[in-house]
């Protein structure tokens, strides 16, 4: 084992040449080179870029490592590519999906490479939000009919004379451009480009008590730090979001879903069983998220703290 890296590569290549002399190499069956190095059983979880998803993974990871004896690797991938990685077996599980009908049809129904693993127990909701301190000054601002009246409050250098509606990461589900157009609002959608940038800007606005209007979602830890109130959009009805260009209604409430790689779901042993049973509440998730994002605990420490305090919740997942 004590080979030097420089000699290892030719050796590895030679072995590869011998082994690869015949047969096909299906790269959809290859795991990460950094996985499984510790020996023993291991699971790879996909972490999405928002903290809620990180909390799911932190707790699942902690329990898998400490109670079930697995080694856990995590990979940060955006939502849509994560589906692709899941179907290829590069990750074993996605613990929080906000609804991707196209991918679901392709991988779960047609190719059968991904299996459903039930509800996460958390209900997600996307909407437009204004800070609560602003609502105290202008109580009628929470109705979209009145937004135009206040457009000048939300003007920034980027919004070109209109009000600014701030959107976040390009990976998130959003209908905001269509909404602004179809509701004929005097607003400009400005894309922050990443959630990190969006949160930084919101915190900065909140510190100065400045007005802002933003695309946001719950559950989200930032609500505890920057209290926000949702703006009422025309109510959601089944099918009102069928045509992406003509959407003029609010976002639905989505029970968040878990997905496993199909092979892993069949033969993943205890880990797969555990991940299928993993189910907690919005409050649980927020508690961990806040520990990570506000108290700056490492995900592992935050998970340990939560696990200590809620044995009755997680004991059910292990049974």
């Amino acid at each position: 084992m004590r080979t030097r890296p420089r000699t290892t590569i030719p050796v590895a290549l030679a072995v590869l040449g011998l082994a690869g002399g015949c047969g096909a190499a299906d790269m959809t069956e290859q795991a990460s080179p950094f996985a499984h190095t510790g020996g023993g059983r291991s699971v790879t979880l996909s972490v999405q870029s928002w903290v809620g998803a990180e909390s799911n993974v932190a707790v699942a990871r902690y329990l898998l490592e400490h109670k079930l004896g697995y080694r856990v690797d995590t990979v940060q991938v955006d939502e849509v590519p994560a589906w692709d990685a899941l179907s290829q077996g590069r990750v074993d599980a996605i613990l929080e999906d906000w609804g991707h009908p196209d991918q679901e049809k392709r991988y779960v129904e047609d190719k059968k490479t991904i299996a459903r693993a039930g509800d996460l127990g958390v209900t997600g909701h996307i909407g437009w939000f204004v800070p609560t301190y602003l609502v105290r000054q202008h109580p009628d601002i929470t109705d979209w009919h009145n937004l135009d009246k206040y457009a000048s409050l939300f003007r920034t250098a980027e919004s070109g004379g209109k009000g600014q509606l701030m959107d976040g990461s390009p990976s998130y589900v959003t209908n905001d451009k269509a909404l602004v157009k179809n509701l004929r609002l005097d607003y400009q959608v400005v894309f922050a480009g990443s959630e990190a940038a969006q949160i930084t800007q919101m915190k900065q606005f909140a510190k100065e008590r400045k007005p802002f209007l933003t695309y946001w979602y719950s559950p989200q830890w930032l609500f505890r730090k920057v209290p926000m109130t949702e703006v009422k959009l025309p109510p959601y009805k089944d099918g009102c979001d069928a045509d992406a260009a003509k959407i003029a209604c609010a976002y639905p409430r989505t029970p968040l879903q878990k997905y496993l790689n199909a092979d892993f779901a069949r033969s993943g042993g205890k880990a797969a069983e555990f991940l299928k049973k993993f189910r907690w509440t919005t409050d649980d998730q927020n508690e961990v998220s806040l520990l990570i994002a506000q108290d700056k605990l490492s995900p592992d420490q935050a998970a340990a703290k939560w696990v200590d305090g809620h044995p009755s919740v997680w004991k059910r997942w292990l049974s």
């Binding site: 590569i9 972490v47 480009g193 990190a196």
Partner: protein
């Protein structure tokens, strides 16, 4: 990046002024002839080609056939397999010798090639990575780098060898390599991901594509630059072609080869973080994950090891290139091996192969406090000068908006005309033609408006960079002390992953185009400062001396002697500045820069090939056009290095 060669200045041709006028006249004539055909402001719709349908089809086809089609099973599958196995082998080996073994090996190799001082630096750098709690990710990144650099060097050297031996191949390769070097790393990611999926193979291959060109260029340059007299002497001794190559040309090109290695390593490292967007893992992934919780301290803790690795590798390979003669080595190879093995064995017996948990320093909290303090005190309400947010807003309203609106208001053909005129005046008709064609391609792709938006950000950022960079560069050239003090700062700015400072930049300037511009300035400034300082220092001392003897003041010397004589270096600085600024303005899509950068990020995040690839192609064209417009001469210097 170590040495940027500044070409010797060219004497001004007496006819220059007239030739310039003639060029402009010719362009005006062409425009006048074509004018009746040209109309409208934005790029005309009937001249665009929509690639959405074919690209979406291609993407679907690949996803559906990736696990069945022979092309994937028998070619890409093996490539991917080879990458996974080699990275894994290196990683396992690194883990097997543990942190004491890796540190000992690194330090001793540095000692062997570069002396005891750098050895101590190398050891300190490795230990610092461990102390920051980043040992495991550092090793992952290191394993990935070893494989990527090795493949890049082999590939680059092979291409360079071909180019160095055959003049025809050289002519064919050179423009391709030149172009590849100006492309922003972000534009490479999507096509690779599509074929290989998210993960290490895609990351390694994207890195190789990005890092191989400098090796190829410098290898070819070194082989072509060999002293003809030496070659003739070798030939007269009756050496065969192969002997000539191995005994004379390759050894003579040693300096260029090592410089190529140096540049390749630097490019690969700068890609390490960007590639985390497509699943490279390691340090880049830690930086990227820290960003999701807006944790600058944590991002910095992962960013510092990258800076350390880069600085150490840069110095060590740089030192290896500088020592020409095979002098007495300080330590022998068996010694290096023995000490490494001993360290690894000792670690294994003592059971401390993994970095001990108690030995880590948490820098995240203090850094976060500092950043918080800075952003809350500087953001707004600073007396007299106003806060950074106000500056950003003013900069957006008074500079970015007018430039963007102005560019978009200009009729499309006049933009082409301006570009042609500029490129032709600075370079040759070839560079002008390439620039114009590249710009026209953007129009054909149907992304004219967002490209001009990106262009406006680039122009604004370049203007700021040049003002600051020339001022600092002049200061550095005139005082050794300033230059010494600047060097570490420049090193850090140049190697610190851009992702680390994107968030503080947002906290200071708010979301939008202003933070993208600010990040670009931070990134591009070091190169501009360096080239300016170097160029000014290379001005013929005799010219300065004679100016001084004529009684010129310091200011007069600077404006009337040094700056005009360093014109070539200054143009090179502009060229480098433009290329680097573009790379970061694109990444600025992640902090509200919008335009092409956002489209690429969107394409990656949504797996939307049609948006991402078209934007990527537009970035490539924009980079090409900007590079050609600012290229000082038609041909880069061939002789020497």
């Amino acid at each position: 990046m170590a040495a940027l060669t500044v070409p010797v200045l060219r004497t001004k041709a007496p006819l220059l002024r007239n030739r310039a006028a003639a060029k402009l006249l010719l362009l005006a004539l062409i425009t006048a002839v074509l004018l009746p055909l040209l109309h409208g402001h934005s790029w005309p719709h009937h001249l665009t080609v929509s690639l959405t349908r074919p690209l979406t089809d291609a993407s679907d086809w690949i996803i559906d056939n990736r696990d069945t089609h022979p092309l994937f099973l028998y070619f890409f599958g093996y490539v991917s397999n080879a990458v996974v196995l080699s990275v894994r082998a290196v990683y396992v080996a690194l883990l097997a010798i543990g942190w004491p073994g890796v540190t000992a090996l690194g330090a001793l190799v540095a000692w062997r090639v570069a002396g005891p001082r750098l050895a101590a630096g190398t050891a300190a750098a490795f230990l610092a990575c461990g102390a920051l709690g980043m040992w495991e990710p550092t090793m992952q990144t290191f394993a990935l780098m070893v494989v990527a650099v090795l493949v890049s060097v082999l590939l680059g050297a092979a291409l360079g060898l071909a180019g160095g031996l055959s003049a025809r191949l050289d002519r064919a390769l050179r423009p391709v390599l030149d172009t590849m070097q100006v492309l922003p790393a972000f534009a490479y990611l999507l096509p690779v991901v599509l074929v290989f999926g998210i993960g290490v193979p895609a990351a390694v291959l994207a890195t190789v594509v990005y890092a191989a060109p400098p090796m190829a260029r410098l290898t070819a340059l070194g082989l072509r630059g060999a002293d003809p007299e030496v070659l003739e002497a070798v030939e007269s001794l009756g050496a065969t072609r192969r002997q000539r190559l191995l005994t004379a040309r390759v050894p003579l090109a040693r300096r260029e080869l090592l410089l190529g290695l140096n540049q390749t390593i630097m490019m690969a490292l700068s890609m390490a973080v960007i590639a985390s967007v497509i699943g490279a893992g390691g340090l880049g992934d830690r930086v990227y994950q820290a960003l999701s919780t807006v944790d600058v301290g944590q991002a910095l803790a992962a960013g510092i090891p990258i800076v350390l690795l880069a600085v150490v590798l840069d110095r060590v390979t740089g030192a290896a290139g500088a020592t020409r003669d095979e002098g007495p080595r300080t330590i022998g190879r068996p010694y290096v091996l023995a000490v490494t093995a001993a360290a690894a064995l000792a670690a294994r017996l003592l059971g401390v192969l993994d970095w001990p948990n108690g030995w880590t320093v948490r820098i995240a909290a203090p850094v976060d406090h500092a950043v918080d303090w800075m952003t809350s005190h500087l953001y707004s309400g600073v007396p007299v000068v106003g806060g950074t947010a106000d500056w950003a807003a003013h900069f957006t309203t008074w500079v970015l908006d007018p430039v963007r609106d102005g560019l978009q208001w200009l009729p499309w053909w006049s933009v082409l005309l301006v570009v042609a005129a500029l490129a032709w005046l600075i370079g040759t008709w070839r560079t002008a033609l390439t620039a114009v064609l590249a710009l026209a391609a953007i129009g054909v792709l149907g992304v004219w408006e967002p490209s001009l938006d990106t262009l406006s950000q680039v122009l604004a950022a370049v203007a700021v960079t040049l003002v600051l960079g020339f001022a600092t560069g002049i200061a550095a050239a005139r005082s050794d002390r300033v230059e010494r003090a600047l060097r570490p700062v420049l090193d850090v700015c140049q190697t610190m992953p851009q992702f680390v400072y994107l968030i503080p930049v947002v906290a200071l300037f708010g979301v939008g185009r202003a933070p993208a511009v600010a990040a670009a300035v931070v990134y591009a400034l070091p190169a501009v400062v360096r080239i300016t300082a170097q160029g000014l220092r290379q001005v013929d001392p005799a010219a300065l001396e004679s100016a001084r003897s004529l009684g010129a003041t310091g200011r007069q010397q600077l404006w009337q002697v040094q700056l005009p004589l360093a014109r070539r270096a200054l143009l090179l600085a502009v060229n480098q500045g433009v290329v680097l600024v573009l790379a970061v303005v694109i990444i600025g899509g992640l902090v509200g820069g919008g335009a092409l950068g956002y489209d690429v990020a969107f394409g990656l995040a949504q797996g939307d090939l049609a948006t991402g690839l078209v934007a990527g192609a537009a970035i490539v064209c924009l980079g090409l056009a900007l590079d050609r417009v600012t290229q000082p001469t038609g041909r880069r210097p061939r002789k020497g290095a």
